[in-house]
């Protein structure tokens, strides 16, 4: 024979048997309905064309910087060599 405790446990375990599904609130329905619009807006805000344009501008700026740095370096080296050659030719004359 089942004890009072066992009956209570079984009744507690079966207390959720006739559980009814809860309807979602209108606020949540609205939040869900807004998802496509929100994410489409996000995509519209930053079009891929603009992203590629920005990337190309950055790449162009970097290339120009690298090229100008190289040119400046080359110029300073040729300048330095000409100073040294002038100096040595001058000392040769003195000798």
């Amino acid at each position: 024979m089942e004890t009072k405790k066992e009956i209570w446990i079984e009744q507690t375990l079966s207390s959720v048997n006739d559980l009814k599904h809860v309807a979602i609130s209108s606020k949540l329905s609205q939040r869900l309905a807004d998802i496509p619009r929100e994410y489409s807006l996000l995509n519209q805000r930053i079009p891929m064309k603009a992203v590629w344009l920005a990337a190309a501008s950055i790449a162009l700026l970097l290339t120009m910087n690298i090229l100008s740095v190289r040119r400046v370096k080359k110029q300073s080296i040729t300048q330095e060599t000409s100073i040294y050659s002038d100096y040595f030719s001058y000392t040769e004359i003195l000798e």
């Binding site: 959720v16 809860v22 994410y39």
Partner: protein, 192 residues
């Protein structure tokens, strides 16, 4: 609209298909997360996250499982993330964890969750049961909730949890045993 067509329409970004999807599945996703998390606001947030994930990653859905199974899997993962986040906050600095306990002590059962879908006469008892379910190890809690409360069949639970049918049977069996033990000690302490 059959499922394949629905998926195709969703993958093409159809808003109508998405609206149909929300009307078909929002209540299911919400009720599952509400039963697992036992909190209305958290369940609403998880539901929104699930549908956002579905909207953004439907292109990656290959149709290996049913759409509902895939959505339930996302729901369970999101709920688990939230539970872990919550328990990390709670357990900070404490060495013993409830997950390692096989049975929850009766004093840990907090009978404070009243599910609005339960009849008035069963509300007090179901609150105790929900309190005991909350003390179960995470996988047992999820498997038991999906089967007992949401009525999802074992096969689908196995697919959602990406495990075997026998593992699900074992999880639910152990959950039931643990619940019986926890409820017995609760009865000893409070009802007698």
């Amino acid at each position: 609209m059959d499922e394949l067509k629905e998926i195709e329409a969703l993958q093409n970004g159809s808003q109508k298909a998405f609206s149909l999807l929300t009307s078909n599945y929002s209540a299911k996703v919400y009720n599952l997360s509400f039963s697992i998390l036992q909190n209305q606001e958290d369940a609403e947030d998880v539901t929104q996250e699930v549908f956002t994930t579905v909207f953004l990653s439907i292109s990656q859905f290959k149709g290996d499982s049913k759409l509902s199974t895939w959505m339930y899997r996302i729901t369970v993962n999101k709920c688990q993330e939230l539970i872990r986040k919550r328990s990390r906050k709670k357990r900070f600095g404490i060495f013993t964890t409830y997950d390692k306990m096989e049975t929850a002590p009766a004093s840990n059962i907090k009978a404070n969750f009243i599910h609005p879908g339960i009849e008035l006469e069963n509300q007090e008892r179901s609150a105790i049961l929900f309190g005991a379910i909350n003390c179960l190890p995470e996988n047992q809690k999820i498997a038991f909730t999906m089967h007992k409360i949401e009525g999802i069949p074992y096969e689908e639970i196995a697919s959602i949890m990406e495990t075997s049918l026998s593992s699900v049977e074992s999880l639910i069996f152990r959950a039931r045993q643990n619940l019986k033990q926890a409820l017995a000690s609760y009865y000893e302490e409070n009802e007698r």
